[in-house]
């Protein structure tokens, strides 16, 4: 090997696939509660959605604020199809319903994609926002199809059970989601290794140059959008089966924003990034939301910090550290990491306390001002907890600022070492 290859996809790529699939299969055996199964199912759905988003975002370079149009409309078509199965009008096995979602997602991709891909870059982003809002507004205008405010409901235990599975128990739905998730993941990965997939990378990197090698970039983006919309539709179909209800919110800016957050936080530059991001996002949105009303605030802060300091997402952080470990240099980072974590914990405790108490004060004026944190109860109306907050923030902030500086110094020196080694290898090696 003559040169440094920052090709993290190669770094245990096969291992990553195997580990992921095994985890999917094994998780519900470890976390058996109903809440956990529901959480895992939602993660599975989100993974398909986020991966579909990354087809246009990370791989195609198209920032969209309205991707929920495809997943949501796919969900609506799927739920109606499911109701038709229940009525006996459609002899389709329920396990194939997500495919209905996918097909209609793709059709919507053709219709809306034609308009949206006329532009690229920032104008494209704004247009997707507008189209998203338009579809959302339209959803409330046609109650026959969209069910108005209440939405459309269904029953998934209809038709002939497939191989004996009725899809009644949540665990069966989970494994159905796993199957579709794995199929979609493999399909989307395969797509990235086709001529269209690779050219979309080129269009992302340099759209002008792509034109000069013979490609109509607008057409490339259009096709890629349709492919992405197909998989988004599949995630919508899975949602229809899982929740048995779909309403206008599914095409709104909320899931559109959510999938963007999830994909970016996970890491748009790597195929597995959105998988990580989806897991994290569902943890924030479904698990954390059980404990605090401030979860969206925390998520927003997390996202902005990622944009500012780690635009490659969690995946990039993991892979950079793996690279350090591979070079055998991780020892130099152990102490700085420990100190960084310690400082962060103190600072974080202060921030969380501040936020929770502030929420407690303004939101629960009728309930009272008690806030339960880490098992201890604080009365947000009294001064003592606030003094603690100030102390935590002050001390934590000071510690954090110092350990961060030390850590960055250690990190930079480690990475410089790695790059120096790579240069040497590159200069010396020749095939």
């Amino acid at each position: 090997m003559g040169s440094v290859e920052f090709r993290p996809i190669d770094l245990g790529m096969y291992m990553a696939w195997v580990v992921t699939i095994v985890l999917f299969l094994v998780m519900p055996l470890i976390f058996t509660s109903g809440f956990a199964i529901s959480l895992l199912s939602q993660m599975g759905i989100m993974i398909v959605f986020a991966l579909s988003y990354n087809v246009i975002f990370g791989q195609g370079g198209m920032l969209s604020f309205g991707h929920a149009v495809y997943s949501g409309l796919g969900a609506f078509f799927a739920i109606h199809a499911l109701n038709w199965v229940g009525d006996g009008r459609l002899p389709l096995p329920v396990v194939l319903i997500p495919l209905v979602g996918g097909v209609f997602g793709a059709i919507c991709g053709v219709v809306f994609g034609y308009v949206t891909t006329k532009k690229a870059g920032v104008p494209f982003a704004m247009i997707t926002l507008g189209i998203g809002e338009m579809v959302h507004a339209a959803a409330l205008m046609f109650p026959d199809f969209f069910g108005g405010e209440a939405g459309i409901t269904t029953d998934r235990m209809v038709g002939t059970p497939f191989l004996g599975f009725t899809l009644g128990p949540a665990i069966q739905v989970y494994y159905l989601i796993v199957v579709w998730c794995v199929i979609s993941m493999i399909a989307m990965y395969a797509f990235s290794q086709t001529p269209l997939g690779r050219i979309s990378n080129a269009v992302r990197d340099n759209p002008e140059r792509a034109e000069f090698i013979g490609y109509n970039t607008q057409r490339v983006r259009f096709f890629v959008l349709v492919v992405s919309a197909f998989f988004a539709g599949i995630s919508g179909g899975l949602a229809a089966i899982n929740f048995e209800i779909i309403n206008a919110e599914q095409v709104s800016a909320i899931p559109s924003g959510a999938v963007l957050l999830a994909t970016f936080i996970g890491g748009a530059m790597f195929f597995f990034g959105p998988v990580i991001g989806s897991v994290l996002f569902v943890l924030f949105a479904v698990a954390l939301s059980e404990y605090t009303p401030a979860w969206q605030f925390y998520l927003g802060i997390f996202f902005v910090l990622m944009v500012m300091y780690a635009p490659g997402g969690v995946a990039s952080i993991l892979l950079l550290n793996l690279r350090v470990a591979k070079e055998g240099l991780f020892k130099a980072l152990r102490m700085p990491y420990l100190r960084l974590v310690a400082g962060s914990v103190v600072l974080l405790a202060g921030v969380v306390m501040l936020v929770e108490m502030a929420y407690g004060l303004t939101l629960s004026l009728s309930i009272g001002t008690m806030v339960k944190l880490f098992g201890i109860e604080f009365d947000a109306a009294r001064p003592t907890p606030w003094i603690i907050v100030v102390l935590l923030l002050g001390v934590g902030g000071w510690i954090f600022a110092r350990v961060r500086r030390d850590f960055m110094r250690a990190w930079d020196s480690v990475n410089q070492e790695i790059e120096a080694r790579a240069k040497q290898a590159g200069a010396g090696g020749a095939r």
Partner: protein
């Protein structure tokens, strides 16, 4: 029929006339250089030919077919390919992928998403061949954004070539290079444009005189002379255009 023909080409940006009537006829297989002082409009001419800018008036013909009004990708599909003065590659793709991408359309793979890239033998072989010829075999899998400047310029030429075009436009291929790097680049260009029509914009006179069959001199948007290298060297108007700088090179 000439490979490339410019007839009465004018280009205005707003009220400013940049190209003020250019006529050029380049036969197939010729190596043609366009030189001229800064601001003469050389890159603009390239941009007009390759479809990056629309013509204000006049006509540009490639193998007799009209180019003006066509989009860059159409022009490329007709057999013309260009490189850029400011390196314009795909930074996150590897060297090999950069070149392979450029081969795909002309080999007929277009927008296909049902074929696996790794199975496409002709694309792979062609790309490997070009990577070898531009001397970047050792950097085969390196991300293009991480290459040195000279390596990127070589890649730039490789990508331009890989499209299989037979009319190649090179925009200042040796810009910013040292003498030895330039010499290597000249060798490379001579090698890889064997049998093709080459039009080159250059500032470096040794490069120009080493490669070109004919030279056109562009000054203030007009061609003031088109001739063989020796005659251009001795042309008084050309020398004057360069404000007293003589064109004698060792």
């Amino acid at each position: 029929m000439n490979a490339l023909e410019l007839v009465g080409v004018h280009k205005n940006f707003g009220k400013t006339e940049i190209i003020r009537g250019v006529d050029l006829a380049i036969p197939a297989g010729e190596r043609h250089a366009i030189i001229g002082p800064n601001g003469a409009g050389k890159s603009t001419v390239f941009n007009l030919i390759s479809g990056r800018f629309p013509l204000t008036s006049g006509s540009i013909r490639l193998h007799g077919q009209e180019l003006s009004g066509r989009r860059p990708f159409e022009i490329n599909r007709m057999g013309l390919s260009r490189s850029f003065q400011i390196t314009n590659i795909f930074p996150r793709l590897s060297v090999f992928e950069n070149v392979r991408c450029a081969t795909l359309y002309s080999l007929g793979y277009r927008y296909s998403f049902w074929r696996r890239l790794s199975r496409l033998k002709d694309a792979r072989d062609l790309a490997e061949d070009i990577v070898e010829r531009i001397g970047l075999r050792a950097r085969h899998d390196t991300q293009a954004g991480l290459l040195t400047y000279a390596e990127q310029r070589a890649l730039e030429i490789g990508v331009t070539l890989a499209t299989g075009a037979n009319v190649i436009l090179l925009d200042e291929p040796t810009a910013g290079m040292s003498t030895s790097e330039s010499e290597r680049m000249v060798e490379l260009i001579r090698r890889v444009t064997e049998g093709k029509t080459l039009v080159m914009v250059e500032h470096d006179m040794s490069v120009v005189f080493g490669l070109a069959d004919r030279i056109s001199v562009l000054v203030y948007g007009q061609v003031i002379a088109t001739d063989g290298p020796e005659r251009i060297r001795g042309n008084a108007a050309v020398q004057e255009a360069y404000l007293g700088t003589t064109l004698t090179e060792s």
